[in-house]
């Protein structure tokens, strides 16, 4: 249904919205810009004002009329309202302070405070498109963020057609404007025509509001035609005629084929890596998750706040920096926004709003940068092309994926120096597949990803090495202590696919832990896995993980210290162990695991599972390549940093992948083009 609304009718409309219990959020002038903020009513709108935009420049100007929506776009879209820049996820009640080390959790409470629902007023077509993009991020995958979902679902949306697009807009390129399409997600759509509005109803909620206004004039066909066809079309035609366009055709492939383009270096000389572009962009979603645990507080909070791929923290992984250079950070932004996004969420991450151009303090223009690369792509080099993955499907998790449960440590087994296996009892039924991981945490130090190294009855095993604050605290836990647990997350070893094949498992150091579940399965089922070989390397005989268990799998091997007798005779399993160095008396192999690989006749037709430190994985793959093993026969686990583990924080991005949900177990061909590559 459509109707005509005078300025006064519009004022009454907003009053109604308020009375219906919504908090009004609309455009209003603040600090010399038109921003979305709380408004009391129509009077707070920037009536008679417009904005002028250029790269790195934004100014307000009086229009000389009474246009309510006569401006284009402010610095930030409704992303701010739907995913606040700082947001508490959960509150954790803390146990007493201990002599040293972090406190343990005693209770977890959801932190979502349900305020008034929001009425978002004045959203443009590109902003609705951006919301659709964010919907895909926060609610479209296997995990749903209930905070976003709830705000989004409750929000009333009053959209506005753009009849006078701004200088930096290029929504016709991205097919996201300038008119608000009939099918878009709005409750009411306004088209501002001189002193009145045309209103189009998009939902029952919208209809009720319009009904509440009493008798309204209905627009004539000629008026509708003037507004929708002439107004919007004219705006679109004007945009089409402009120089600033973004050619999306084949863009992901183009960008990933040009990872070494000289333009990135040239950009690095201009870009300040300030992060402004990402925080004004209406589709970016990266954030950090941190613990707020002041000494004196009885509760700690797990808080998320906006982050950006331009910060040091974003690509810092426990002391290592994976994107130290500005060129790599700009490349991340552009290849994600315009490239990987398409394979991750089925849509480009750009809606053509031009904000990143206006609000870049040095006026860098993303459309110009793309055009420069498109105009002179570098010839494909020898480097393996980066494959753009199909969207992955990890098992969905019901409920709030950021809300941890309190699990109890049932027992602690000391495996090696500074390495323990925590047997943890989760609440309720817990099923996982070998290769998956949990986020284990303590409120004072935060959460870290730890693989599930086995399941014994109702207990989940986690084998942890103390390397830093969080892992050290976990290793120090005692039976009876509680910890926070979220999971299981991530991809698993492809056990079903391995059936009937000869399997070779290559592990280094603690890399055996994520493989143990899979190995146990294969050891127990000779009928499914006719031959299983484990090549395992560790620093020294004392650093061999699960030594007793390994011995039980293959009775023919002997290495000091030989302890437990074999419990399981499994002729189909063969174990080879090598160490970097050993005391005299050791009769096993000494040398790196790759040397061991050269020693054992490995088949080009077997299936391979590889886990260990990244550097080891790379050397192992090189060796497999020489043997002639095809990339689709090899799976490996990439254990990089994570924050959310559910594909929402953006921290674990590895080229086009989220390691947390596309991985950690990847088939080699999926990431072959990225391994060892600078800046990834």
């Amino acid at each position: 249904m459509s109707a005509r609304l005078t300025h006064d009718g519009f004022r009454r409309l907003l009053e109604q919205v308020r009375e219906a219990g919504y908090a009004l959020v609309g455009p209003t002038i603040s600090d010399g810009a038109i921003v979305y903020g709380p408004i009391a009513g129509a009077d707070d709108l920037p009536i008679g004002w417009t904005d002028e935009q250029a790269p790195g420049r934004y100014r307000l100007r009086e229009r000389g009329d009474r246009a309510h929506f006569g401006y284009v776009l402010g610095p930030q879209g409704p992303r701010r309202q739907l995913t606040p820049p700082v947001e508490t996820l959960v509150r954790i009640r803390l146990g007493p302070r201990r002599e040293q080390g972090p406190r343990t959790p005693e209770g977890v409470e959801a932190a979502d405070e349900d305020g008034e629902p929001l009425a978002l007023i004045g959203l443009r077509a590109c902003e609705l498109a951006a919301m659709a993009v964010q919907d895909a991020v926060w609610t479209g995958g296997p995990f749903v963020d209930p905070r976003y979902a709830r705000r989004r679902e409750r929000a009333l949306i009053i959209a506005v057609d753009c009849l006078e697009p701004g200088e930096l807009c290029f929504c016709v390129s991205t097919n996201t404007g300038p008119g608000v399409e009939a099918g878009a997600s709005f409750d009411l759509r306004l088209t501002e025509l001189g002193e009145e509005f045309l209103v189009e109803v998009g939902s029952e909620r919208g209809q009720a509001l319009i009904d509440g206004l009493g008798e309204l004039a209905e627009p004539s066909t000629a008026q509708l035609f003037a507004a929708r066809t002439q107004g919007v079309l004219a705006a679109a035609m004007e945009l089409h005629g402009r120089e600033r366009q973004l050619d999306l055709d084949g863009l992901p492939e183009l960008l990933f084929a040009n990872l070494d383009h000289p333009r990135w270096d040239e950009l690095a000389a201009r870009c300040l890596s300030c992060g402004s572009c990402t925080l004004v962009c209406p589709t970016c979603f990266c954030h950090r998750v941190e613990e707020r645990a002041p000494l004196d507080a009885p509760t700690s909070e797990r808080v998320r706040h906006w982050d950006s791929c331009f910060t040091d923290e974003h690509s810092r992984i426990h002391g290592a920096q994976f994107r130290p250079q500005i060129r790599e950070r700009y490349r991340q932004w552009m290849t994600h926004k315009l490239g990987a996004w398409v394979s991750q969420f089925g849509t480009s991450g750009c809606v053509g709003c031009g904000r990143c151009i206006a609000w870049c303090p040095v006026g860098i223009d993303i459309t110009e940068e793309v055009a420069a690369i498109r105009a002179a792509p570098v010839a494909p080099d020898d480097a393996e092309p980066v494959a753009l993955p199909p969207a992955t499907t990890v098992p969905a998790l019901a409920g709030d994926p950021m809300h941890p449960q309190l699990a109890r440590v049932v027992s602690v087994r000391e495996e090696l120096r500074e390495v323990v296996t925590l047997a943890v009892e989760p609440v309720g039924v817990f099923s996982h597949a070998p290769g998956q991981f949990n986020m284990l945490g303590l409120p004072d130090v935060g959460e870290v990803p730890i693989s599930i190294s086995g399941q014994a009855g109702g207990e989940l095993l986690h084998t942890i090495r103390a390397v830093g604050a969080a892992s050290r605290a976990l290793v120090a836990l005692e039976a009876g202590d509680r910890l926070t647990l979220r999971g299981p997350f991530g991809s698993a070893w492809p056990l079903a696919e391995l059936r009937g094949h000869n399997v070779v498992v290559i592990a280094g150091g603690l890399g055996l832990a994520p493989l143990r579940g899979a190995l146990r399965e294969m050891v127990a089922h000779p009928e499914r896995y006719p031959s299983v070989r484990l090549l395992y390397g560790a620093r020294s005989p004392e650093e061999l993980l699960f030594a007793d268990e390994i011995l039980s799998w293959d009775r023919s091997i002997r290495f000091a210290p030989t302890t437990a007798p074999a419990v399981l005779e499994s002729g189909h399993v063969k174990v080879h162990v090598t160490v970097d160095g050993a005391a005299p008396g050791w009769t096993g192999h000494v040398g790196v695991v790759t040397k061991l690989m050269r020693r054992k006749p490995l088949s080009a037709h077997a299936r391979y599972l590889v886990c260990g430190p990244e550097i080891m994985i790379r050397f192992v793959l090189r060796e497999l390549e020489t043997i002639g093993v095809a990339q689709d026969q090899v799976w490996l686990s990439m254990e990089r940093n994570m924050k959310c583990a559910v594909g929402m924080c953006g921290r674990c991005q590895y080229g086009p992948h989220f390691i947390c949900k596309d991985g950690p177990v990847f088939r080699w061909d999926a990431i072959a083009g990225l391994l060892g590559r600078e800046g990834f």
Binding site: Y58, P75, P102, S276, P294, W359, V362, G363, A469
Partner: protein
């Protein structure tokens, strides 16, 4: 029961502003005092034991005399975690500005001055002399960050104090960019966050109190400012404030100073 952690607070050449921040923590300080033994706290008390080992040591101020250098080395030797707090300790502070003058004199009389005297003729941040585990930036430091630093260090976690641009703080706060919307020169893009975007909130460009962030691309920012009409002399002044002696800002101001 194991001894409670000892928190040491020391002051070299500075204005005391940062220690005042610690005092300003009032309520929180009580919690800190309940959890740790605060030792050698010249601003709060004068008769505390300055000797022995410290689990966490906060050092305020820059090094400008040989005595301070000796004191600093002794402090380092007694400290498990040593944190430099404030612009003076992390970048030399305002007093380091005289280095620019000394620097030129030094060039003129290269052989006239014994090098070791020259070293102390310069005001230097403490990281120039001893290993520093963490730098808490600011002039003065931020109360919330100080509290986070102490809480985090005492449980062995890395403090949640990100080395990122002031722009990040502006954008999170919903602060409109003063450069883009008002044409104000602003050091925010190259400056370490932590102040909560104080100056932009008052419609002023950032003065760089917290010093350079990692990867501070000062050259690109200065070039852009110059293209927008900021004079070389003004650029020198901008980069030569509280943290003007930090490497990135010093190099940038020198680039425009001739």
């Amino acid at each position: 029961m194991a001894a409670r952690p000892r928190l040491g607070v020391f002051k070299l050449a500075s204005c005391d502003g940062c220690q005042l921040t610690l005092l300003d923590l009032e309520d929180e300080l009580l919690a800190i005092a309940a959890a740790v033994d605060i030792v050698h706290f010249p601003e709060a008390s004068s008769d505390m034991d300055p000797h022995g080992r410290f689990d966490l040591t906060l050092v305020e101020g820059s090094v400008s005399t040989p005595a301070q250098l000796d004191e600093l080395r002794a402090i380092r030797a007694q400290s498990r975690t040593l944190v430099a707090i404030g612009a003076c300790a992390t970048a030399g502070g305002v007093q380091a500005l005289r280095n620019f003058a000394d620097h030129r004199e030094y060039v003129r009389a290269v052989y006239a001055t014994p090098a070791y005297i020259e070293t102390l003729a310069q005001v230097t941040p403490i990281a120039a002399h001893v290993r520093v585990d963490f730098e808490l930036r600011g002039c003065p430091i931020d109360k919330g960050q100080l509290l986070e630093l102490i809480s985090a260090t005492l449980v062995g976690r890395r403090p949640d104090i990100a080395d990122e641009s002031v722009c990040m703080a502006c954008k999170r706060a919903g602060q409109v960019c003063v450069t883009v919307a008002h044409g104000q020169p602003c050091l925010g893009p190259v400056t370490h966050a932590g102040c909560g975007a104080l100056c932009p909130r008052f419609s002023r460009g950032c003065f760089g109190c917290y010093g350079p962030r990692e990867r501070a691309n000062t050259e690109a920012l200065a070039d852009h400012m110059q293209a927008e009409g900021v004079s070389a002399a003004s650029l020198v002044r901008r980069f030569r404030l509280f943290t003007g002696w930090s490497e990135a800002f010093r190099a940038e101001s020198e680039r425009h100073d001739d």
